[in-house]
């Protein structure tokens, strides 16, 4: 288990390289991509079982010098904040392969390579302990995602792919500036743990915080930096949407927890009211936008803006319930939204439509599909017994501890999310079957069921037994909050005196 994290990163990468050199038919490519990603998933499960929940220290740490003249290392490790996100990544990747089994017919090999490279980069981002290494992985994610949207996407794919690329790149540049500033201010090191807990000057904290904020807020995405997301989702193939909504958005939340809070705690504390307000705006605004949509993918994309608002709200209320709820909510959102995009993809495979108005009367021809859709819809708006209820409940408790009015406004978001999801559930179950569909709708086949069943299981596993999942993150969250809790708010006058 000593090299587990390296293997998690390099196994899909090596697989991608080998796939590139081997000539085989598409069937063979699909099976090997599936095999690799499942193997990676099993390995990550082994890591979870070997994980010690009693400590907040990084575990499975590996350190190798990379560029010694700049103190850059290849350093990886996991703690309670990152381990569930790693697992989410390794879980969703085989599901993406399954979702593309028949949906992707051209350049299958290249597509699978892109997915595997993506997986390596995403895991790398979550486990990196060196800031430069983190940044490399962070940027590396953009390329396969750009290709997945731009090559295998819908009719308007070039516009969406470029928008996605430029938008996130703009955030990344600010992140790079922040990393370099911290390198000089923090004693010429890129070691993430050494950069935490230092007392940076107020000015440094101020600028680094806002650079972090913009970089991560674009990724999450927070209102008003969210417009790349709906466009990207609409054009991306199902697998792209699953990765995008399921994992990529979590990078922003992870960034706040890993870098923003522990490295610039004073600034985080000072500006948390602004971020909390923006989060609540995102919750309500995203929900209202979801109500206006006629395209299912856009609807779920805007609902992601709303749900991720709960995540940022939970992070910036800065108490243990809020933060634990936020981390759990990231995992929940990955599971549920991943499943919803998977389901939309399955519907699109059959009807070549994603319009809300066509999603009518599907319960008769596709009972299993409809049952699953109802399950995930309920999970999406936080029905008790499902995973999102636990996450949203914890975030709300944390929010009410911090600020009554903001929490009350966020609670209203719950009604709206039930509103837009139920609108679809109602017509899907009770509407008349659309006559324009020439072919009769077939229910899910075995492959499609295999892809979705782990997600259903997790919805209820987390919803009914939240304890074990929360205990994984407990020690790390408490340690994180102790780091922030010791900080005093910044004074505005400190910030305004430039060096």
């Amino acid at each position: 288990m000593k090299y587990a994290l390296s293997i998690l990163i390099f196994l899909p990468l090596a697989g991608a390289v080998i796939l590139g050199f081997i000539r085989g038919n598409d069937r063979w490519v699909r099976w090997s991509a599936l095999g690799l990603s499942v193997a990676n998933f099993l390995l990550s499960v082994a890591v979870l079982f070997a994980f010690n929940t009693a400590t907040h220290e990084m575990q499975f740490v590996e350190r190798y010098p990379w560029a010694p003249s700049f103190n850059i290392e290849f350093a990886v490790g996991v703690d309670g904040i990152s381990i569930l996100l790693v697992l989410l990544t390794t879980l969703l990747c085989p599901i993406c392969v399954l979702a593309s089994w028949t949906a992707i017919t051209s350049r299958v090999k290249e597509f699978m390579i892109a997915i595997l490279v993506m997986e390596a980069a995403m895991i790398g981002t979550f486990v990196a302990l060196d800031f430069i290494l983190f940044f490399v992985f962070w940027e590396a994610m953009l390329i396969p995602m750009y290709l997945i949207i731009g090559v295998w996407g819908g009719p308007n794919r070039i516009y969406s792919a470029i928008k996605f690329f430029l938008y996130t790149l703009a955030g990344s540049l600010l992140l790079l500036v922040a990393i370099i500033v911290l390198y000089f201010a923090g004693g010429h090191t890129f070691n993430i743990q050494s950069l935490m807990g230092q007392s940076y000057s107020a000015t440094v904290q101020f600028w680094v915080f806002w650079a972090f904020f913009i970089a991560f807020a674009i990724k999450i995405p927070m209102f008003p930096l969210h417009t790349w997301l709906p466009d990207a989702h609409v054009e991306a193939p199902a697998a792209g949407s699953i990765i995008l909504a399921g994992i990529l958005l979590k990078m922003g939340g992870y960034g706040f927890l890993r870098f923003c809070l522990p490295m610039v705690p004073q600034a985080s504390l000072t500006f948390s009211p602004i971020i909390m307000t923006l989060s609540v705006v995102a919750i309500l605004y995203g929900a209202y936008m979801a109500l206006a949509q006629t395209d299912l993918k856009k609807l779920i994309a805007y609902s992601s803006v709303s749900h991720m608002g709960f995540v940022t709200l939970g992070i910036f209320v800065l108490n243990s319930r809020g933060v634990e709820g936020a981390i759990l909510q990231m995992v929940n959102h990955g599971i549920v939204t991943g499943a919803l995009f998977l389901a939309i993809g399955q519907f699109y495979d059959r009807t070549h439509s994603r319009l809300v108005e066509d999603f009518v009367g599907i319960a008769k021809p596709m009972p299993i599909y409809a049952t699953l859709w109802v399950t995930f819809s309920f999970a999406s708006f936080g029905f008790p017994g499902t995973n999102s209820f636990i996450g949203e409940f914890l975030v709300l408790v944390g929010a009410f501890e911090r600020h009554l009015l903001l929490a009350a406004a966020a609670t209203l978001g719950l009604i709206l999310s039930a509103f837009y999801m139920l609108r679809i559930v109602r017509q899907a179950l009770f509407g008349p079957v659309v006559k324009s569909l020439s072919t009769p709708l077939a229910d899910l086949n075995i492959r499609e069921l295999v892809a979705v069943i782990p997600l259903v299981a997790l919805v209820f596993a987390i919803g009914l037994y939240p304890g074990p999942w929360l205990s994984v993150m407990h020690a790390s969250v408490n340690h994180l909050l102790a780091q922030v809790g010791a900080a005093a708010p910044l004074q505005i006058t400190d910030v305004l005196t430039l060096p």
Partner: protein
């Protein structure tokens, strides 16, 4: 936590719902009836105590609190579920419908045995989302729309409850479902959540809106569980909250007044649910032992006779396909048994002596007198008279007697009659032997319903109401003959009253009923449209605008790269001179 085994009755219902899709044919009916029987046995076997305590997010979830109050509501819910399933037996192949009803009842039982507010919230949500299917499964446009409004209203109530529970948890560190003082935003929100479910005006529009659109069997279930679960929650959480006395009395009158206008038989009955729940809410507000006993007993009796009335109305709708008073009439010839059973329900709700309503409602009235609430007592008496007028006289008159509609149908299927018969038997049984019900009540009962004073007083009011109905009957006739006679003023007076009811009051009702439309839904939709324009023009417009400006300038700048050496040389010279000049000048 009490030692010993406790099979939660709700678990029986949930398991039954999970099993149901796998059971086919005749066996399904047997299974459906076996589930409430099993749950009933489980409840009878349970001794008082606290069972099923689970740690959940640092709080305790108490799923099985068995005491006199929870047992009383458990018994009646299970009993009503049994009657309801008998009533629905003739419907073949409606798995979804039966499963929804099972989960709905299970949710109600879950609330009843909950010992903490988080469990109450969870099971209320279960109730909400299963009950909406009893409406939606009617599968017509009206029921789809009504079901949606129903769910929105209850989501509002649910969110109030959730918010209140969370605030309560943050402020007191406890979520125990015990009598709660209304002294802060948390308890107020919890109370509002319960009041929505209890259909207290102005939060009541969902009830009269949705119940008439439900399926025939669905309406029978709906009439029994949601509002009575809320009454249970009020008894448990907010006994003696004074505001409830007035709210309850207003409710009692409100339901009766709006029933005046109704032509739809199930909507008329639905308004009377509001009125009857008003008695219970008022009693909870009084908070004395007699009042709380009265509220519990009245809930028990009400579930049976209201179920019976909805079953009767449902039988008529099932057989004739019509639901308007004006389209029905003269059915006494073809449906005499239905008429008889319906009338037992009618007498019960009107609180005739020897029927169940009498022994429970008089407790509430006595409690009002005991607490010296004369105005409240008067309001409740007035509501009583109105109840008899509408459910006991007007509805049966227009459906079963009155102008013959010419409809000739047979009695409903036997199972429907059996279900109604069972409910009717219980109504009469409780009326004749009230001690059986009193023995189940949460507090010791020292109360005798059958005193000369009470019986005579009640009969007087009921008979005067009947007399009034006969006199007014002429005016209620759809086509009154116009004759100028000495009774002109009298007629005009009655007409004036009717006009008042038909116009301003009807308008007020429409306003209230449509409030969610004018205040919530329409503005929401407008806001959504406006925000969508804002999103595309401003937020996304800024991004795309920046991109297209860059794009456009990039194309223009490209021309500078002309490829001619002279141009580059000129540019260099100009650049260097500008630099030098600025260096010298500044």
């Amino acid at each position: 936590m009490t030692e010993g085994f406790f099979l939660h009755p709700a678990a029986v219902f949930f398991l039954g719902a999970a099993l149901l899709p796998w059971v086919r044919g005749r066996l399904r009916g047997v299974t459906l009836l076996l589930i409430p029987v099993l749950a009933g046995l489980a409840l009878l076997a349970a001794s008082p105590g606290v069972y099923g305590v689970y740690a959940f997010l640092g709080q305790e979830l108490i799923l099985g609190r068995v005491d006199a109050l929870s047992r009383l509501f458990g018994v009646i819910f299970i009993l009503m579920a049994f009657i309801g399933f008998v009533y629905g037996l003739h419907e073949k192949g409606k798995t979804g419908h039966c499963a929804a009803a099972l989960i709905y009842v299970g949710g109600a039982l879950g609330v009843v045995f909950s010992g903490d507010y988080i469990s109450v919230f969870i099971f209320s949500e279960v109730m909400l989302f299963s009950s909406v299917f009893l409406i939606w499964l009617q599968r017509d446009a009206a029921s789809l729309a009504a079901g949606f409004r129903y769910i929105l209203m209850h989501l509002f109530g649910g969110v109030c409850l959730l918010g209140g529970v969370v605030i309560q948890l943050v402020e007191t560190g406890s979520t125990a479902f015990e009598p709660t003082a209304v002294n802060g935003i948390g308890p107020i929100l919890i109370l509002i959540g319960f009041l929505v479910n209890a259909a207290v005006p102005p939060l009541s529009a969902w009830l009269s809106d949705a119940y008439p659109e439900a399926t025939v069997t669905g309406a029978v279930f709906l009439s029994a569980f949601t509002t009575k679960t809320a009454v249970y929650c009020l008894i448990r959480g907010f006994p003696g909250t004074e505001e409830l006395v007035w709210l309850g009395a207003v409710m009692a009158i409100y339901g009766v007044v709006y029933a005046v206008l109704e032509n739809d038989i199930r909507r008329l009955l639905a308004y009377h649910i509001i009125s009857q729940v008003g008695f219970m809410v008022a009693a909870v507000g009084m908070g004395t032992e007699l009042a709380l006993n009265g509220a519990s007993a009245h809930a028990f009796a009400h579930i049976l006779y209201k179920g019976l009335l909805f079953m009767g109305a449902g039988a008529v709708i099932h057989m004739t396909g019509k639901r308007k008073l004006t389209e029905l009439g003269g059915l006494y010839r073809s449906m005499p048994i239905t008429l008889t059973l319906y009338m037992i329900g009618g007498f019960s709700i009107s609180a005739f002596p020897l029927f169940s309503g009498f022994v429970s409602k008089s407790m509430v009235l006595a409690a009002a007198q005991e607490s010296h609430l004369t105005t409240i007592w008067l309001m409740l008496m007035l509501a009583s008279a109105g109840t008899f007028l509408h459910t006991g006289l007007k509805l049966p008159y227009y459906v079963f007697f009155g102008k013959d509609s010419g409809i000739r149908v047979s009695e409903p299927p036997a199972n429907m009659l059996w279900a109604m018969g069972l409910a009717a038997l219980l109504c009469v049984g409780i009326g004749v032997a009230p001690q059986t019900l009193y023995a189940l009540l949460p507090y010791a009962v020292d109360y005798a319903p059958y005193t000369t004073h009470k019986v005579v007083g009640t009969l007087q009011i009921l008979l005067f109401t009947a007399l009034g109905f006969m006199l007014l009957l002429k005016q209620l006739d759809p086509e009154p003959k116009i004759s100028l006679d000495t009774d002109w003023f009298y007629r005009k007076g009655a007409r004036g009253l009717l006009w008042l009811a038909a116009h301003p009051i009807a308008r007020a009702d429409a306003l209230l009923g449509e409030a969610y439309l004018t205040l919530i839904l329409n503005p929401t939709e407008r806001l959504v449209q406006w925000l969508w324009v804002f999103e595309r023009r401003v937020i996304d417009g800024a991004v795309n605008g920046a991109a297209s400006v860059t794009h456009a300038y990039a194309f223009r700048m490209r021309r500078i790269q002309s490829g001619q050496l002279q141009h580059y040389a000129l540019a260099m010279v100009v650049g260097v001179s500008v630099f030098l000049v600025s260096l010298i000048l500044f």
